[in-house]
């Protein structure tokens, strides 16, 4: 492969890639995301390969194993280009029919397209399916169009134009300014302004600076980062290089999961290809800017997603957080300024540079700009990854995109942010998706996992469940977190098992407050959040639980 040394060479290469591609050539895009993998899409992919070989169509039809399409519930998903006909729940035995009828015959197979379970309406294209119709897919939309293992595919959809624009046409300050004007906020949970973080690191003393992709994604029920990073690793990488340029860093780290081999392979592949094209390494695009990236794997513990713990892990130590009187953007890895952003945040960067901060800031609410990926799970009809503009109401997401609650049950609550998030009740469903609005309600958006709970769920049990999880994941370094979680868990288990005492709720509240105030890192500080939010909105459940327990005891006396 040729090394690209200038913007014009990049454009030439892009033209070359596009000219080789016939837009009318049929392409079968099969989702190879994590969710579809478990539904047996491996067999579907090999069935397509076999069928195409058998019919001797190898030169006439492309087969593309793509990243997650988002609609995991109906997987394995197959999209046939150029008509963009979308088939859901495809099995290997459907394959010969799809090839002969749709790929060759250009006919839609009615049985395989999406049927609305309520109205019975059929939809042959993704854009007509309710799950997709109500989304704004800026970031994940490209997933269906590219093979994550091919950098050419990424170039074909306009990839790396933002990088060449920033490196060759903009100064680092200008890039930073753009990000600040776009008001890009960290998607990992805190909602911290990315521009400010970058600026702090840029102005911090020292030559050596680092940028890091946090692809740990430990939040339970969150799987959108994996969807982006597995499905379109180049976009994250492009964002990271732009960020490095703005910050003045020449060394980056990708911190990702050890238990998802597909993710790691795709990242490794993406790095190797980018390096070959000269988009990574020395003198990128002839701009004089050099940047290298290393991949690090986590050891599968929740707390290693916390910034200081993550950095300690990269240093080769056990992932224990440290007090952050000095931000990691000033003293991070090896006490050097380090900018840590989540996968989704980095993936937003090329969009901002490409289209300008004004365009970007035109989407969203006053204080939360752009789109947000959410992963829907729990008692919901359509499990999957959805991308919506900030400001979309939770009700729209749950009912419009998620398709509501299965088996006609009523919704009880929506839980955000996994073990360190909070729940909102049905009555607050019209709240818009917004960092600050949700935080005000005690249910901070977290990384974007939305766990939908139906009327049969016991909220006491949900709070207990998350504390149980955290009690195993607390690193044990600071006492308030280690002991506080344990004691809260003990009381909640007692309430569940009917061994309840007067004043337990008040005691819970007290411990929650102390744990939150005195813990070292975000894990401990927010460990009691699910408990607090359930106490806030579902206090009656705790009380009736306690009342119910008390009654038989009184009878005995």
């Amino acid at each position: 492969m040729p090394r690209i040394n200038s913007a014009s060479e990049l454009e030439e290469l892009r033209k070359g890639v596009l000219s080789e591609r016939d837009p009318d050539k049929p392409c079968i895009a099969i989702c190879a995301g994590m969710g579809c993998l478990g539904l047996g899409n491996g067999r579907v992919i090999s069935a397509f390969e076999e069928e195409v070989n058998k019919k001797d169509l190898k030169t006439k039809v492309d087969i593309r194993a793509t990243g997650c399409h988002g609609y995991c519930e109906k997987g394995p998903m197959v999209v046939i280009y150029p008509e963009e006909i979308c088939y859901v729940e495809v099995t290997p035995k459907d394959v010969p029919e799809i090839v002969s009828q749709t790929v060759l015959g250009k006919k839609v197979i009615d049985l395989l397209i999406y049927t609305d379970p309520d109205t019975g309406e059929k939809a042959a294209h993704q854009s007509e399916i309710p799950f997709y119709k109500n989304q704004m897919r800026h970031i994940i939309g490209n997933n269906t169009k590219i093979d994550p293992r091919s950098i050419d595919d990424y170039l074909a959809v306009g990839g790396y134009s933002a990088l060449s624009k920033s490196l060759l046409e903009m100064s680092p300050e200008k890039v930073l300014d753009e990000i600040k004007k776009a008001n890009l906020r960290g998607r990992g949970g805190g909602g911290f302004r990315a521009g400010r973080k970058w600026e702090t690191a840029r102005n911090a003393p020292g030559e050596e600076k680092y940028v890091i992709v946090n692809a740990h994604e430990g939040e339970l029920g969150a799987f959108m980062d994996r969807a982006i990073f597995t499905g379109n690793p180049q976009s994250v990488l492009e964002g990271l290089i732009i960020g490095a340029y703005a910050v003045g860093s020449h060394r980056g780290f990708i911190y990702t999961r050890h238990d998802t081999p597909q993710l790691k392979n795709n990242i490794d592949m993406a790095l190797a290809q980018a390096e070959e094209y000269g988009l990574l390494g020395e003198n990128i695009l002839g701009s004089g800017f050099s940047f290298n990236v290393e991949v690090h794997l986590d050891i599968g513990i929740f707390v290693s997603g916390e910034s200081s713990a993550l950095m300690r892990s990269i240093e080769g130590n056990a992932p224990e957080p440290r007090p952050k009187y000095i931000h990691t953007s000033v003293k991070g890895i090896w006490k050097k300024p380090s900018v840590l952003n989540n996968v989704e945040t980095w993936a937003n960067v090329p969009l901002i540079i490409d289209n300008g901060s004004e365009w970007y800031a035109s989407t969203g609410t006053a204080r939360s700009k752009g789109t947000k990926l959410v992963s829907l799970s729990g008692n919901i009809v359509n499990t999957g990854v959805a991308e919506v503009p900030f400001g979309t109401t939770i009700r729209e997401i749950v009912y419009g995109i998620g398709g509501g609650i299965p088996k006609g049950k009523k919704l009880k609550a929506v839980h955000f942010g996994g073990p360190i998030g909070g729940s909102i009740p049905e009555s607050l469903l019209d709240t818009p998706l917004d960092f600050d609005e949700l935080a005000k309600l005690g249910a901070s958006i977290g990384a974007g996992s939305m766990l939908v709970l139906d009327e049969d769920t016991s909220m006491v049990d949900v709070a207990r469940y998350f504390l149980d999880f955290l009690s195993n994941e607390s690193c044990g370094k600071c006492v308030p977190c280690r002991e506080g979680i344990r004691q809260m868990l003990k009381i909640l288990t007692n309430i569940r098992d009917g061994k309840v005492r007067e004043g337990d709720i008040e005691l819970l509240e007290e411990i929650a407050e102390v744990t939150g105030a005195a813990s070292l890192c975000a894990l401990g500080k927010t460990a009691a959040d699910p408990l607090r939010s359930t106490l806030r909105y579902f206090r009656d459940e705790y009380e009736t639980n306690i009342e119910k327990m008390k009654r038989p005891a009184e009878k005995r006396e």
């Binding site: 995991c72 939040e219 339970l220 969150a222 998802t260 892990s313 949900v462």
Partner: protein
């Protein structure tokens, strides 16, 4: 028996001076006929017979051991030494059984000084029985070599066994019923396996390895233990530094270390890769990593004990992971986990006796559309209800 040769069992007798020895004497004086296979050692009390005597007798080629004492409660001494003899015999029989020898080769009888005829009758019965059993070891199908190291293994353990006997295997009532009841009870079996069985297995493995290195499968074949048990013992002793395990290919380890050497945070990455390759981290590997990367072993241990991703004990052939993430949880993963536990008979974090499955629970892997899900050896099985899980697991060997 082989052509022409008749097997003459060699029997060693330990007889108490006050009763059985006098009884045997009386049998002789009275000219009662009994087979002349027994060689007698006279002791002051049957209670003085030590397990070491018994196993030494077997080690030097005796085919059976006979212990004769006074009738219970008739001991010449206030210590009632014959009760001690009884419990010692029960334990030694169990030990014999454990190493594959017939426990009938050890016999205890109560013969008073006036019961010459009883001694003769006992011998008339005992000797033919041993003849039938054949020579020690060969009769049980154990070759001479194996027999030696097995007996050696037990002999090495005797001081410990005596300690256990006095501490944990003591019967409070000195009555025959109480002794018989205790030593035939489940409780005794359990205690024996717990306190002595493991040690014995280990002692045998050690005796075997002292001769020359063996593989886990060889050891398991020779000792009739399951491979997982052998690995468990090896692992324990590896940690005590009594055994060096060669389960891991050192070149492979070096290759992994070299790949990451010099890179930032290489320790975590090296350990992770070895864990992925080998599925567990034996002591020698940790030592090697510590030495090669020039990191203190305490740091290595800090990392590997920090989270359950790293395992210090061998895992089963199939690692089973039941997702207990919140989405799976609200969709019924608790019941699924219960069913899996019942099917495998193990709890999370454990490996079943055949080393077929290791069970883990774990948080979300992001396939929430598949909930409740179970992952076996990296393969996802989605939407698994408790009644379906059996069908999923039966495909794994």
């Amino acid at each position: 028996m082989a052509a022409g040769h008749t097997f003459e069992p060699r029997i060693l007798g330990f007889l108490c001076d006050w009763c059985c020895y006098a009884g045997a004497d009386l049998a002789g004086v009275s000219r009662f006929q009994y087979p002349p296979n027994i060689r007698v050692i006279r002791l002051m009390c049957s209670g003085r017979v030590d397990p070491a005597h018994i196993f030494r007798a077997f080690s030097t080629g005796q085919d059976a051991v006979f212990i004769g004492g006074c009738h219970l409660d008739d001991c010449h001494y206030v210590t009632h030494g014959n009760y001690d003899a009884l419990s010692m015999v029960y334990i030694c029989k169990k030990l014999l059984e454990h190493i594959g020898l017939n426990p009938e080769r050890l016999r205890i009888e109560w013969v008073s000084a006036g019961e010459g005829i009883r001694f003769a009758n006992t011998m008339n019965e005992f000797v033919p029985r041993i003849e039938k059993l054949g020579p020690l070891g060969r009769g049980e199908g154990i070759d001479e070599h194996e027999l030696t190291f097995k007996l050696e293994a037990v002999t090495k353990l005797i001081p410990y066994i005596k300690l256990v006997q006095s501490e944990r295997l003591r019967v409070p009532d000195r009555t025959e019923e109480a002794y018989n009841k205790f030593f035939t009870s489940e409780e005794f079996n359990r205690l024996f396996n717990e306190l002595i069985g493991d040690k014995l297995a280990l002692s045998q493995i050690m005796a075997l390895l002292r001769e020359r290195p063996h593989s886990t499968s060889e050891i398991s074949a020779i000792l009739g233990l399951s491979p997982s048990e052998v690995s468990r013992h090896l692992n324990v002793s590896a940690r005590n530094q009594t055994v060096e395990t060669g389960t891991v290919d050192n070149d492979k380890i070096d290759r992994i270390i070299n790949k990451h050497q010099g890179k930032a945070g290489s320790l975590v990455q090296v350990l992770l890769e070895i864990q992925h390759e080998n599925h567990w981290l034996p002591q020698e590997v940790l030592d090697r990593v510590s030495k090669k990367l020039d990191v203190p072993l305490s740091r290595v241990m800090q990392i590997v004990t920090f989270h359950k991703t790293f395992s210090l004990i061998p895992k089963g052939r199939n690692e089973v992971h039941v997702c207990t993430g919140p989405s799976c949880y609200v969709r019924g993963s608790t019941r699924l986990l219960d069913t899996v536990q019942n099917l495998m008979g193990i709890r999370p974090g454990e490996t079943d006796p055949d080393s077929k499955f290791s069970l883990e629970t774990g948080s979300c892997l992001g396939c929430c559309n598949l909930g409740p899900e179970i992952i076996v050896g990296g393969k996802h099985h989605g939407r698994v209800t408790p009644d379906k899980v059996k069908d999923v697991l039966k495909n794994y060997e």
